[in-house]
């Protein structure tokens, strides 16, 4: 039996791993900003946040 088994599926190169990590961090930051934005506006508007004139 071989000491090392060949990995199944696709193996990412270092460049691919690096760019995927960059993209993941950017998505996390964007989601963080969105959450904070909703929190901040809710704090600013108070109960008026529920008033939604068209």
């Amino acid at each position: 039996m071989a000491d090392k088994q060949k990995p199944d599926g696709i193996v990412l190169t270092e460049a691919q791993k690096r760019s995927r990590r960059q993209r993941s961090i950017a998505i996390a930051l964007a989601l963080g900003v969105l959450v904070f934005l909703f929190f901040a506006v809710t704090m600013v508007k108070g109960p008026a946040v529920l008033v939604r004139p068209m």
Partner: protein
């Protein structure tokens, strides 16, 4: 017989190496910066107090909406982008981002920008932002751009809407002032882009885009530039005598308008060789300064008035 299984190659999933910079490039950052600036002025001149958090949210949503439009534009135009030297380095022609990735990115951003503006600020502004994105992507990019030489005249409406959206975000309604800002950008767009098209007409011809210099020739374009500049200068000065913007704006608009008109006349008169090219490039560069300075004046007036009300 090949030892390589062609089916396996074709079925192998493509692993993206696109980094964040490629996705930022899809947003057209330079266009986005102009959108942010004009929207900020639209927000500043609104006659209501807007909480800074809501102001930031509005500008962010408008900016992201503009970025989404840029990404969707690049998704649709990747075939012609590859043919033009100005756009060949964009992420899709370079192979950094695929078309489906750009489409998904643009649609996601557009959805979040419109929904966030609607939910957090007001739905009138959200609907206007949705209309702006629709107009730029569907009406201009998919419809007008490859169909008519008037593409940037009508399509310019999309670029003129951000200050209107910002005003709507601040007030929840519309008024004459944002319409005036809209008209200024609307009539600024043809001279600006036709000046660019004059010295990039080979690019546009190669890509088969019916820009005015390609379809009607450079001389007809020069005349149109001059006529639109006359309308632009008039429209930009008019808010002063009509009483919507004050004398500081009026004088600035007159001085800048004289500069713009002089350069447009130069473009009309100088039709051959390097002098013609120089005149066109000067008009293109000055037109950016013109719009920036007009809007900056309006913004600065608001700042000065807020800091030292006695001056005005």
């Amino acid at each position: 017989m090949s030892v390589v299984d062609q089916n396996a190659i074709e079925l192998a999933p493509r692993i993206s190496e696109a980094d964040v910079a490629d996705y930022i490039a899809l947003l057209k950052p330079r266009v986005m910066s102009l959108v942010i600036f004009t929207a900020l002025v639209g927000l500043m001149i609104a006659p209501v107090h807007v909480h800074p958090v809501l102001a930031f949210t509005s500008i962010l949503c408008i900016a992201v909406g503009a970025g989404a439009s840029g990404a969707l534009n690049m998704w649709y135009e990747s075939d012609i982008d590859a043919l033009m030297s100005r756009t060949a380095n964009r992420p899709i022609p370079r192979g950094r981002v695929t078309r489906p990735e750009a489409l998904a990115f643009g649609m996601t951003l557009a959805f979040f920008a419109v929904m966030t503006l609607g939910i957090l600020v007001n739905w009138f502004a959200g609907a206007l932002l949705a209309f702006t994105i629709f107009f730029y992507v569907v009406v201009y990019t998919m419809g007008l751009k490859r169909w008519t030489a008037q593409n940037i005249v009508i399509g310019g409406a999309a670029g003129a809407l951000p200050p209107v959206v910002a005003w709507a975000a601040a007030t929840g309604s519309l008024s004459i002032e944002p319409v005036l800002l809209f008209l200024i950008i609307f009539f600024w767009t043809p001279p600006h882009f036709w000046a660019l098209a004059l010295f990039r007409s080979d690019d546009y011809a190669r890509a088969g885009i019916p820009m005015l210099p390609v379809v009607a020739g450079p001389d007809a374009t020069r005349l149109q530039i001059l006529l639109y500049t006359l309308v632009l200068v008039t429209v930009a000065v008019a808010p002063w005598p009509l009483g919507y913007f004050d004398a500081v704006y009026g004088v600035t608009s007159l001085v800048l308008g004289a500069g713009m008109l002089t350069l447009a006349i130069n473009v009309y008169r100088r039709r051959e060789g390097s002098e013609a090219l120089r005149a066109t490039r000067k008009l293109f560069a000055f037109s950016i300064l013109y719009l920036f300075a007009l809007f900056a004046t309006l913004g600065l007036e608001v700042v000065v008035h807020a800091l030292a009300p006695s001056i005005w």
